[in-house]
Amino acid sequence: MILRCETAKVVEHREIGSGYRYIVFDTPKMAGDMIPGQFVHVKIPSLEASALRRPFSVFDAEEGRVHVLYKTVGRGTAALNSVRTGDSVSVMGPLGHGFPSQCNGVALLVGGGYGVAPLHFLAKRLKAAGHGSIEVFIGGRTKDDLLAVDRFRAMGVGVHLATNDGSEGVKGLVTDPLDDELARIRASDGKFELFACGPDPMLKAVAMRATGTSSRGWISMDRHMICGVGACYACIQKTVRGNSRCCVEGPVFRAEDLVWE
């Protein structure tokens, strides 16, 4: 894998729901190297020259293009909204340590909000590798926060939904349907691995379900970053090895390596 900095044409950019958007970059050099769980570091064209890049996890990478699903949460993503199809954007990637390409047992993918993005890419790759048993658990505050549901269904993976307000799927937390599935797997002495991306409390809850078991958990952390390449030491996650950088040692960490504060 070679780190590249490409001037990418935006080939698609649209709103896909309340506050969520989908953008596709034409990045022929890096797209083929991208691994699920990795991210791209994007220079937002309309921000001032001194503004930092913004990291985005990859929703899909195929045919020379990198797809990103994002939520407008701050100044950077708000400015990204104004980028139009045909605009040129500087994109760095592939960056970070991604998910493993193999899974032993049932792959349980747990996502909250836009955290489903790398899980979509992962599910697609696992499917392509012939991994048959994939269940995805998607959580959000309301049904508007349940993203890419149809894309997962079209892939033929099991989809389980949960919302805080009960507007779709189970009323409660995404770990509720996950726990039902874990009980079923354990009852039949089955094997599983957990893959998660989303808000910290959800990640911690998922990590706890893997820690101390024989099953592995892979947790993708979302942190503000500066350089994205491991040079500045700003995006720190505490792990059993000390202060680890989310941009190179992560964003995907083994569940048992994470130290929660």
Binding site: I2, L3, R4, C5, K43, E48, A49, S50, A51, L52, R53, S90, M92, R223, H224, I226, C227, V229, G230, A231, C232, Y233, A234, I236, G242, N243, V248
Partner: protein, 312 residues
């Protein structure tokens, strides 16, 4: 053909462009995303005897015109640096530019010992990229690497003298911007035997979250870098150059060639790109190209002719 080589106190640089400590990791991280051939030197992140965990999170905040950070000098100790990091840098980067190693410590003895080990290692093939030492006496984010040594001219002189005794590598001292008279500190370094000076380190700064009524950074305060500090840095380089013959490695808000040329005119011999690399890794090469074309437009045969060429 413009001669782009410069002599920074005995450090031969093929171009006048370096990277600033703390913004370029240990030299290899940006491999693939930029052209290293246009760098005259890279500066490795601060090294001390033992590894150091750095500060708690959050460690940075973007602000208009730059960045406030309090990373806190997280890093591996000298042993890992010499055994793993430098050989890795040399193997990853073809024709690796000379490395300036930024050092810090909790005592004068620690600085001296780190300098001694770097000097010893620089004679070996595996670590031959090590060509200069930059003493950090001005980090605003850790007590030991900052005020203890950089704010008192007498202590600064003792430190520089002690490190000088342990190394024959070009010795650069990185000074703090927040002093009333830079000349006093310049003389302390000169008298201690420094070969060059670098300036500026970040400017002490603070950002407050008014809704939470708390500082944004876990360290409460940090250091400001980026575009916004540039005019302040030019003034300090100008002041320092007027009172010393020591070559100056200037840094602070270099985003384009114009910024670097201002530093050169004010008296700098070489210029480091720092925070700008985060946004655009190609900044250093763009700055280099711009300096060359400036020399051509203004009839300078060499970059070194620009140093201090400010007209009255």
């Amino acid at each position: 053909m413009v001669d782009t080589s410069v002599d920074l106190g005995g450090l031969d640089m093929a171009t006048p462009i370096a990277t600033a400590s703390g913004t370029f990791g240990y030299g290899f991280e940006y491999s693939g995303s930029m052209d290293y051939s246009k760098l005259g030197a890279v500066t490795a992140k601060g090294i001390r005897l033992d590894s150091w965990p750095g500060n708690a999170m959050p460690r940075h905040c973007e602000v208009p015109g730059g960045l406030v950070n309090a990373i806190g000098l997280q890093g591996t100790g000298i042993e890992h640096f010499l055994d793993i990091t430098v050989p890795h840098y040399m193997s990853q980067i073809g024709s690796a530019p000379p490395m300036i190693v930024n050092i810090w410590g909790g005592s004068i003895d620690e600085y001296s010992e780190v300098a001694r080990r770097l000097t010893e290692a620089s004679a070996t093939k595996e670590c031959s990229a090590i060509r200069a030492i930059e003493c950090n006496v001005s980090c605003p984010n850790v007590k030991e690497g900052g005020h203890t040594f950089g704010q008192d001219p007498k202590v600064l002189n003792e430190l520089v003298s002690a490190v000088r005794e342990k190394t024959n590598l070009p010795l650069i001292v990185k000074l703090a911007p927040n002093v009333p008279d830079i000349g006093v500190y310049v003389r302390a370094c000169e008298d201690g035997g420094a070969d060059a000076l670098s300036m500026i380190n970040t400017i002490p700064a603070m950002v407050i979250d008014i809704e939470k009524r708390r500082p944004v950074l876990a360290n409460r305060t940090g250091g400001l870098s980026g575009k916004g500090v540039h005019p302040a840095a030019v003034k300090i380089v100008y002041d320092a150059h007027r009172v010393t013959k020591l070559p100056i490695l200037a840094m602070g808000g270099v985003y384009e060639a114009k910024d670097a040329i201002e530093f050169l005119l004010a008296g700098a011999t070489a210029v480091a790109v720092g925070t700008a690399s985060f946004t655009e890794p190609a900044t250093a090469e763009n700055v280099f190209d711009g300096i060359v074309s400036y020399c051509e437009r203004h009839g300078f045969d060499s970059v070194s002719q620009i140093t201090g060429a400010l007209l009255a």
